[in-house]
């Protein structure tokens, strides 16, 4: 409780409320006011999520901080919120990144500031709702609503080809969501009139129906992750989005897809999940290896990191569908870590882009001479992206590999190639951008990161190193929920 108000509701509605306030500041004459309000809103939004961490009980897998109210009686839909170990950390991650993007967009965004800031704040609240919703319709409402601010962010503040990218983003994700909606309604019918996700976990479903539901969920979640072959919207969206948009896409949006697998597909349709696991693993390995190679060939920095994201998310889906504790916990670690690392890399590219207005790798070279502090930060995040021990990425990748090798040596072998490819494309990127001679006269005029940029990069550094060196607290939060999920997944849900 915060001042007598339930924590999760506050975490959802406070940012949205501030978003509305920011929107009300109107046009760009009041931009400083809008920025300040947005900062206050995002920081408060993060602070109110801290009680979730402080008051979290790590010994149970039950839902905590539960709020349950009637909402739409006609369909027995409830305003039903709660978190477990899986969802709680993502709410923190999301609220934290809202602060980061607000600061990152502080000087960079100059047109329609209030709308930009408001869109991010509103989205922050909505995403918290996605992670906390325990009623399927409530989940769906947040899930779809999330698209609207992102659609606007990419479309208004994005790059030259932004309209194509944002339309593609929206329609791609909508396709999956609509199929999921039909599956949710079907589940409502077979549970005898309940939309509670926890009731969905308990109901038994025949195999054919399980397969169809799994496929419907697959479309919804695989598009968001994104898995090969439905990943093609991501590079477009990332490249055209403004820095803040890319950061939120990478750090948060991609996670809701994997979260969906954990919350819906696996516990609701465990038999279908086992049956489809082979395909899911194959798709994950293709993403890891093939997309890793694609990343190697990119000449655009943002595209490179976008492909690297897809490749890393392949690790996550691999970890989920090998059905053991190492794999699943590793996947969750990897999701969190990827949020920090990919977010940080997009911020680094944003720093360069703000100065040079180019994302082409060939336009850079020798940046270290002009921006030594920046080069140091970039170095750390590049290392983290290639999975160096001591950084957060290592923990997740290592655990997924451990899990994979228990199931099948060749899964682990395929996945492990990413340690090579990942290092190759990241370090090669780093070398071409940062080292070498100054080839471009514009690089000559670069100025090093300012205090604002150092602040955000330093905050991310703390998390990347902290999670890498001492992952235990995160693991403790995950344990109970992951074990419970594995029990669920191991039980057949076929009717007897």
């Amino acid at each position: 409780m915060i001042f007598g108000l339930p924590v999760i509701s506050v975490a959802i509605w406070l940012p949205i409320l501030f978003g509305m306030l920011v929107l009300a500041t109107g046009d760009d004459k009041n931009a400083p006011m809008a920025r300040l309000l947005a900062l206050v809103g995002s920081v408060l939004g993060f602070v109110v999520t801290l009680p979730l961490y402080a008051g979290f009980n790590t010994s149970t897998s039950a839902m905590q901080f539960v709020e349950l109210h009637d909402w739409i009686n006609r369909f027995n839909i409830h305003y039903y919120l709660g978190v477990d170990g899986i969802s709680m950390l993502f709410i923190l991650l999301n609220s934290f990144f809202t602060v980061i993007v607000v600061i990152a967009g502080w000087r960079v965004i100059e047109k329609r500031v209030s709308q930009y800031m408001a869109a991010f704040l509103v989205m922050s609240g909505i995403v918290n709702g996605v992670f906390a919703a325990l009623d399927a319709v409530l989940f769906y409402v947040f899930w779809e609503a999330m698209l609207i601010p992102m659609f606007i962010i990419i479309g208004v503040w994005g790059g030259p080809n932004r309209i194509y990218a944002t339309m593609k983003f929206f329609l791609y994700t909508l396709l999956g969501s609509l199929l999921m909606l039909v599956a949710l309604i079907y589940l409502y019918n077979i549970t005898g009139g309940s939309f509670s996700i926890l009731d969905f976990h308990r109901v038994s479903i025949p195999m054919t129906a399980q397969m169809l539901i799994f496929i419907a969920f697959f479309f919804a979640f695989a598009v968001k992750v994104p898995m090969f072959p439905v990943h093609t919207w991501l590079p477009d969206a990332h490249v055209e989005a403004p820095t803040g948009g890319s950061v939120v896409l990478a750090a948060i949006m991609l996670k809701v897809g994997a979260y969906g697998f954990l919350r819906f597909s696996m516990p609701i349709t465990p038999d279908a999940s086992h049956k489809m696991a082979g395909i899911m693993i194959a798709l994950s390995l293709i993403a890891i290896v093939y997309i890793g190679l694609v990343a190697l060939m990119q000449s655009d920095m943002k595209k490179l990191v976008a492909y690297s994201s897809i490749s890393h998310m392949g690790f996550v889906t691999l970890g989920l569908f090998i059905f053991n504790a190492y794999g699943m916990e590793g996947a969750l670690m990897q999701m969190l870590s990827h949020g920090f690392v990919a977010g940080a890399l997009f911020l680094c590219i944003g720093v360069l882009y703000d100065r040079m207005h180019s994302r082409r790798i060939a336009d850079y070279g020798g940046v270290v001479n002009k921006m030594p502090v920046f080069a140091a930060f970039f170095m750390l995040f590049a290392m983290a992206n290639s999975g160096l021990p001591g950084t957060s990425a290592f923990v997740g990748e290592f655990m997924v590999l451990m899990g994979a090798i228990k199931v099948n040596f060749w899964y682990a072998f395929g996945a492990a190639t990413t340690l090579i490819f990942g290092a190759a494309y990241t370090l090669w990127l780093y070398k071409r951008v940062i080292f070498g001679k100054i080839a471009n006269p514009h690089v000559e005029e670069l100025t090093d990161v300012n205090a604002r940029e150092i602040l955000i990069l330093a905050m991310l550094t703390i998390f990347v190193l902290g999670m890498g060196l001492y992952p235990l607290p995160v693991g403790e939060i995950l344990h109970a929920s992951v074990n419970d999920l594995l029990v669920h997944v191991a039980q057949s849900k076929l009717p007897l």
Binding site: F75, L171, I185
Partner: protein
Amino acid sequence: MNLMANLLPAAAEIFLLVMVCFILIFDLLLKQNKIYTYLFVQLTLLGCSLITVGTHQHGVFYAFNGMFVDDLLSDVLKMLSYLGMSMVLVYSRQYLLLRGLFTGEFLVLALFALLGMNVMISASHFLTLYLGLELLSLSLYAMVALQRDSAIATEAAMKYFVLGALASGLLLYGMSMLYGATGSLELGAVSNAIHQGVQNKALLAFGLVFIVSGLAFKLGVVPFHMWVPDVYHGAPTAMTLLIGSVPKLAAFAFVVRILVEGLQSLVSDWSGMLMVLAIASMALGNLSAIAQTNIKRMFAYSTITHMGFMLLGLISGSIEGYGAAMFYTVVYMIMSLGGFGMIMMLSRAGFEADTLDDFKGLNQRSPWLAFMMMLLMLSMAGIPPTVGFYAKFSVLSAVVQAGYTWLAVVAVLFSLIGAFYYLRIIKLMYFDVPESHVPIVVESDTGLLMTLNGLGVLLLGMLPGTLMTICAVSVRQSLLLH
């Protein structure tokens, strides 16, 4: 006493008729300024709604020897149609004023149309149904033709009239066949007769086909949709607003009265027909809407789609489904009022904002209107947290419940196509640069109404429960008590 008891269920209609006649004369005395007529009309609507609420009683009451029925369904639909008509008038006042169409004739015709709708909503006899339908249709034909010097409006009126007359003919033909088969024109008696078994099955089947075709014509669903785009496009936007919004409530009532109350025993026959109509409408409506450059035509095709979607609710053949269809219709009315209202707000003297390009850069010209339009478009596309989502949701839920999961999948895939052209409007408003920088003049009353309309779509989306329950309960009560 008996007379009074007989008239009480129709009190609102009688009041409306008296007031229309009165306004007709009153208007003659006013020379130039029609604002008093306008206010009088609005007061009449208020009076009607007070009477409808005041005379409401729990249960089903018949008047005029069972030709007219007063139940919860009719009262709810009537209240909504008063509200809708009142909104139509507010939105169109300034638009019509600038075009010299804000005349007594318009207002009187609008009230006559409303009277026709009310009669349709309350009809329990084929003749009353037909009477109401013709009163509505004839008023609308005349309204479309009101702009006499516009060739396109005249053409639209002609098309509307000819095809409308054809549809009426089909309906009458079907009704006469049903009469031949069952020996009655009263819906209850027809229902009983069919339930007990009819000798001439072929006659019944033919009658049903003609009736469904006639209904499809009036609803404007594929393949009887040809008049919709031309009429929507050709008519002055205020008339399009009227045609495209409130009469859908009456059309819903019409369909429910005939198919559900009268021909429920034939549900397995007509639901198959409606399914074909619905799928064809969603397919053709959505695909054609993409190709439009005129926003009124686009909305016309979108109406075809929405009506197809509404029919899905009826196909399920369950009371939940009918309730969902009603909810869908009500929500559609609210959205289309806002959509056409927006076109009129952006229009000015001598300029029609009826192409898609006129919406370019609206966010820079008027952020608030752009935001409202965005909410309306998202709602039409069925994206939460707007109310359009719940409309689609409740219909889909009824469809899945009836066992047609594949049909729900087809419906959502077409909605995906639909989402594209609604998003395109948002794209034009938010991502493009305005072509014109003429300041948008917003009258305070239309501005306020638009705000209420847009935010209403959002608020109903946050708390859709009440409206949903009202629709479900009114359909349930009316059908179960009959």
